[in-house]
Symmetry: C2
Subunit: 594 residues, 2 copies
């Protein structure tokens, strides 16, 4: 029905007759003429309707915003003075010679000229997606997927589908369950990732696998989480961690180049330990120049217990952040930051303003200065390379609290004081993660997942000292977002059993949950390693938004509901009967009444 997209029209087509299909973006009546901004997925073009075209003009008089129309017209070059530089098609206009109203539109429940509530936008998602800002994001997402597929196809990766109706996976988050009708009382689980299937594919010999695949986590949601999310899932055999990183780094680098014309450069590789030490995070945002500086050695002998106790505790940490120009922070602002670090368990936020660096001890202003002597202060100023006008903020507590609180404070200061360079791209790899995290009860959990290989350890060495073991895992971080993570996997059944043992999974449970994996490891399993990217997050970064719902066509709310279709909803009682399940909310109420 069309010869061109509205958004593709330009001077080179002047004189040609074109057929267009699209929507009335805006109508203006001016000087006896009707002007229509006509929109389709590729853009907007201005149409002029001349009163001399009597029939068309009469019809055009009925046009309202969002009417769906078909239009025939001649492309005309605009005189220089009437060109619209803000519009891609601003050098031409279309002189209408034919018009058909395909479908009328009621007045929209959304106003495209102002900000609408997210609730309204989600309820009328199909209308919100008409906004070029939104449709551009969905188009960029399509381009991103397409780029990834071409890259991986060209690099001999095979796109292989894995099941959605499957068995509970051990990633740790809550599974979505699906009751089986055939096997009464049993349930499928929706996958949190195709982890075990992709490992099995390596055992089958496929060598290089990928899939862009939906994964599911029934977790309480945050702004950058959705109950269903999309993963670029990758697994390889016979490749080292370095090779996997090199291949996937190339993919991301070429993607940024092609889609944004941005050169990301080579990604630095940083150990987990360094990331925690310098940035208080396992996903440091390197656009932010602030760093945590350890000062326990300087403070371990001061009389001020708040500093000296953690400085002398092997599980403690004392670290400061020097904020350039921060001496101008008001008392109120400092109080707010104190409250902020409290969220992470910090009991206070000591500070020291550097009013005159040259004056040393006499040039600083700080409620804690009285506990410190000249030498300590001078050492602090030197260690942090402080200058006049800076502030130094102190964190002193357990390692965990200081790292988390100061890491979060670093990010907040970067935002608040506009220190973070929003125009920059700062990717990096974080490597050498601990194998295990200690739970409150002293037991260990896998930091990645229980199939991650330790770094250079035999099963015996690992069992002897699991708490200190590092894993051969790696995360890709861009601008403070973990966009991908992966590891070398265990390909040896003795090692796999050792890890399960350390995690406190009984032999019986190992057989029940992972018997097929332990079996599979008996039959010539190749060494394998992989990685998964969060496509939603990558596209968020590409689009420059921090709301994951902006890059998903039909997202759910943070309460995991779809406001458009009203899902989830009540089920037909007959269906539940067939599935042999019952909802037991009402029943509980009845019991309460009894």
């Amino acid at each position: 029905m069309r010869t061109h997209y509205c958004g593709h029209l330009n001077k080179s087509l002047a004189g040609q007759t074109v057929d267009l299909c699209g929507w009335v973006n805006r109508r203006r009546d001016l000087g006896g003429l009707i002007f229509i901004d006509m929109r389709d997925r590729e853009g907007v073009v201005q149409v002029v309707i001349d009163p001399d075209m009597t029939e068309i003009f009469t019809l055009a008089n009925q046009l309202r915003n969002e009417f769906c129309i078909r239009l025939t017209g001649e492309v005309r070059e605009r005189p220089e003075s009437q060109c619209n530089k803000d519009m891609a098609t601003g050098e031409v206009e279309i002189y209408a010679t034919g018009l058909e109203i395909i479908n009328r539109s009621e007045a929209l429940p959304l106003d495209f000229n102002q900000k609408n509530s997210e609730e309204q936008r989600l309820k009328y998602r199909y209308l919100d997606l008409r906004r070029p800002e939104m449709s551009d994001r969905i188009k960029l997402r399509a381009k991103a997927s397409s780029f990834v597929r071409r890259f991986l196809d060209d690099n001999a990766f095979l796109d292989i589908e894995t099941p959605v109706l499957t068995k509970a996976t051990p990633e740790g988050a809550r599974d979505y369950l699906v009751p089986s009708r055939v096997h009464k009382g049993k349930f499928y689980a929706l996958p949190q990732s195709p982890q075990l299937f992709k490992q099995l594919l390596m055992m089958s010999g496929f060598d290089r696998y990928y899939q862009i695949v939906k994964c599911f986590r029934d977790e309480d949601l945050r702004a950058d989480r959705q109950p269903e999310f999309t993963q670029i899932d990758i697994e390889t055999s016979f490749m080292s961690a370095d090779q996997v990183r090199a291949t996937t780094e190339k993919m991301i680098t070429e993607m940024w180049k092609e889609l944004l014309n941005v050169d990301l450069g080579a990604f630095p590789v940083m150990s987990f330990e360094e990331a925690a030490r310098r940035f208080g995070s396992d996903k440091p945002d390197l656009r932010n120049p602030l760093e945590l500086v350890d000062v326990a050695d300087i403070l371990k002998d001061v009389e001020f217990q708040v500093f000296s106790a953690p400085a002398n505790d092997p599980k403690g940490r004392v670290a400061v952040i020097r904020v350039p120009g921060g001496a101008s922070l008001s008392r109120k602002q400092i109080d707010e930051y104190t409250k902020f670090v409290g969220i992470y368990g910090a009991k206070g936020l000591a500070w020291m303003k550097v009013n005159d660096r040259a004056a040393g001890f006499d040039g600083v202003q700080s409620p804690v200065a009285k506990f410190l002597n000249e030498e300590v202060v001078e050492n602090l100023l030197e260690r942090t390379q402080a200058e006049s006008g800076d502030i130094i903020l102190f964190g002193a507590d357990s390692k965990r609290v200081v790292t988390e609180a100061m890491g979060a404070l670093r990010l907040k200061l970067g935002e608040d004081l506009a220190l973070t360079d929003k125009s920059a791209w700062k990717p990096l790899w974080v490597v050498d993660f601990p194998m295990f995290e200690e739970n409150e009860d002293g037991s260990l959990s896998a930091m990645h997942h229980p199939f991650t290989s330790p770094l250079n350890l035999t099963p015996e060495e690992l069992a002897a000292n699991p708490a200190d073991a590092l894993s051969n895992a790696y995360d890709m971080v861009i601008n403070g977002y973990e966009v991908g993570g992966g590891s070398v996997r265990i390909h040896n059944s003795a090692m796999q059993s050792t890890v399960f043992d350390i995690l406190g999974i009984s032999t019986e449970e190992q057989r029940l949950k992972f018997g097929f994996l332990l079996d599979a490891l008996q039959f010539g399993t190749p060494p394998h390693a992989g990685l998964a990217f969060g496509l939603d997050r990558l596209v968020m970064l590409l689009c420059g938004t921090d709301n994951i719902r902006d890059v998903i066509a039909f997202p759910k709310t943070t309460a995991a509901a779809c406001l458009l279709t009203d899902a989830p909803s009540l089920a037909n009682p007959a269906s539940l009967e067939e599935l042999s399940i019952a909802v037991n909310i009402a029943k509980k109420k009845e019991q309460d009444q009894e």
Copy 2:
């Protein structure tokens, strides 16, 4: 770890040293040497291990089938006499200079040299997928998906993801339900297709959408069905049915050309009515030369009620199949066919052998000949163009029974008598389907789905005579398989309401289930049309298998179970508690005991 794939080695590399990674496919000890057929995903190559290489030879002595190894060696051209023409790499062998055993293997539970039970194959799927026959299918599937994506990307289609956790869809099959933890007592449904979402995307203006997407139906399974299956889902705006068919036909034609080097030619277009009349099917296998021939007019005046009653009934049908050479069928064989048509409700299978065509009435042999006169028999012979040695088989019953029974019989005869040309490719389009099917209680169901547009009817005309309305729907059929189907959709709310009314969906139910669609139709909906292909079926055809499980990496059994991971399985009681649901099998038993 490798420089080449085993399967890629050839004469041009002679003299080069290569590194290979893979599996021991077979080991033979011959004339003091050890020969290893080494396998990776691209194929097999022969490796020779010379006893002079003492260390390697000792290690090689430990090798058993399916050990995972790394091998370094020199590519050597084989003397002409020792070339293996059956092997892609048969002109070379690798002279081993380095060997590493990466991982040992127990004896496999599958024997690759003989046929294993499907149960064993599914339980050890990761091993079964090592067989080149299986891995080739999975690789062809990856190529097929990749081809489709490139074709659609190049034709300006946008890959847009739609939700998996969504609302019950109206396709008619049973939905898989997913209990919500946040919204107690409510359920998501897994989509039977993204039908409504893709229509909404057209309303958003995306214009050309596609997705290769998992869909779900909780139905009793057949050989070519799976609970989760993959759809190539397509939707377009501003395109007619002809244009959608032309675009998708081009995609399939180019796919066959690229993947099989087969030219499918232009697809004939056949009406549903003609397909049912001539082939007794809405998905005729045109490789089979047999046709149904209507003979009610010839038989309407015979005294034999079995023929004349349906011949005179407007809802009846009398049709025959002439089987060339079928006069040689034995009485026993005919009895079996009689039993076979009984499955479809036919009460018998009258037959007439043509022993001597020239002798007319006297040349035929038939238990029903005595009820027919010379003229009738001559007319039958002429209408069917029977020749000596043929058999004519009769179906006389309701239209439905005759069409289904004779359609099925046609297929069975084609197979049994090797009349169906298995080497041929016979695609076609079936169009002009009825809008509605009549249920036993006289009510109407949508033949496609309730969003399908009728063919050239106003809402008023449709409401006046729904039973006779045709829809603007189309199916693509290849070799008797419906590989894709679609339609022009309703883009007008009056028409949509009319269809819902005809289907007996109350206004209240319309609002509850499809309120968002009816709302959306108010806001300038473009005309739109689409189609969905079953990827699994397409790949089945491409691979030349008729078992859908052969083209799915991790399929489920016909009882919807995964024998590999043992899904579905019992759920953790705490999880069910959190979801506020209970399994009520045990409860029922208890009640029975009370």
